[in-house]
């Protein structure tokens, strides 16, 4: 190593570099709280639900039985291992384009005192994100604002809106009354 390199203020010794790197990893992995999220698409937009509210992810091939007299945003019921669960769509509540019938997948969501299947367009990921990656929602329209608790900027695409499962299902039930 030359004298000029030694005097470079950005140059580090190997031990110091490794120590810094280890410290950085310690901050991310241990100190910072993380949340599990289920990321999905609905009506062409990106959303997430807390993993704690999603009991199960089901493929879209599940037989849905149409119940006579149901409103449009309750698809019907599914028979899931000896239990009957409702299947709903959230597009009307969130003012999103109506989904093609029976397309996509189902999330079995437990919130607001009920359990129901929620039809989604596509599953994107199930992942853990640090709390600091969740930013306060800004510039949301009046329809989405009551249901979005944070925005996640995960990549160069549009932000992912983290939904409040309790608020969603409470509003959905109120809309059925």
């Amino acid at each position: 190593m030359t004298a000029s390199t030694m005097s470079d203020p950005s140059a580090l010794g190997l031990d110091e570099a490794l120590a810094r790197q280890g410290e950085a990893h310690t901050r991310v992995d241990v100190d910072e709280p993380a949340r599990q999220l289920v990321l999905f698409r609905l009506g062409g937009q990106r959303f997430a639900l807390p993993g704690s509210a999603v009991r199960e992810i089901l493929d879209g091939q599940q037989s849905v039985y149409f119940v006579p007299g149901l409103p449009d945003d309750i698809e019907g019921v599914i028979h899931l291992r000896g239990a009957i669960e409702s299947v709903i769509t959230l597009e009307r509540l969130l003012d999103l384009p109506a989904p093609p019938a029976g397309a996509g997948m189902l999330l079995l969501v437990d919130a607001a005192g009920i359990r129901t299947g929620v039809r989604i367009e596509a599953l994107e990921d199930v992942c853990e994100v640090s709390e600091s990656a969740l930013k306060p929602p800004e510039a949301l329209n009046d329809t989405l604002a009551p249901f979005v608790t944070a925005l996640l900027h995960r990549d160069a695409r549009e932000a992912i809106a983290l939904l409040d499962a309790d608020a969603l299902l409470t509003a959905f039930q109120a809309g059925q009354g």
Partner: protein, 118 residues
Amino acid sequence: MAHVSLVVFEAGQHRFALEANRVRRLSSTPSHTRTAHLARLLHLEESAPASRWLTLVDGAGAWELGVTGSAELIDWPAPALYPLPTLVRASVHPALVGIAFERQGVACWLLAAERLTP
């Protein structure tokens, strides 16, 4: 195995069942003045004219429920009768209380006779 005796029939392209001990009589022509077609009570799409009339009793006396197709008496295993989820119960006719699955997964909707009225 515990079972429930059900009278199973059709209306508006769907299969339905009532508890057999709620059905007093089954006939091909109505004989009471108080009658109603099940498809109309449940606001179903247009249904064929009633071909069977089930005599039920409510607080005002006997009345007849019109259904289509044949009416069968079936002893259904109790564990195979499922209540509808809360969200669905809140959105449909109050007489629609459960579901059972016939052969090949055909849904049969369970009706509470006491919640039907002409």
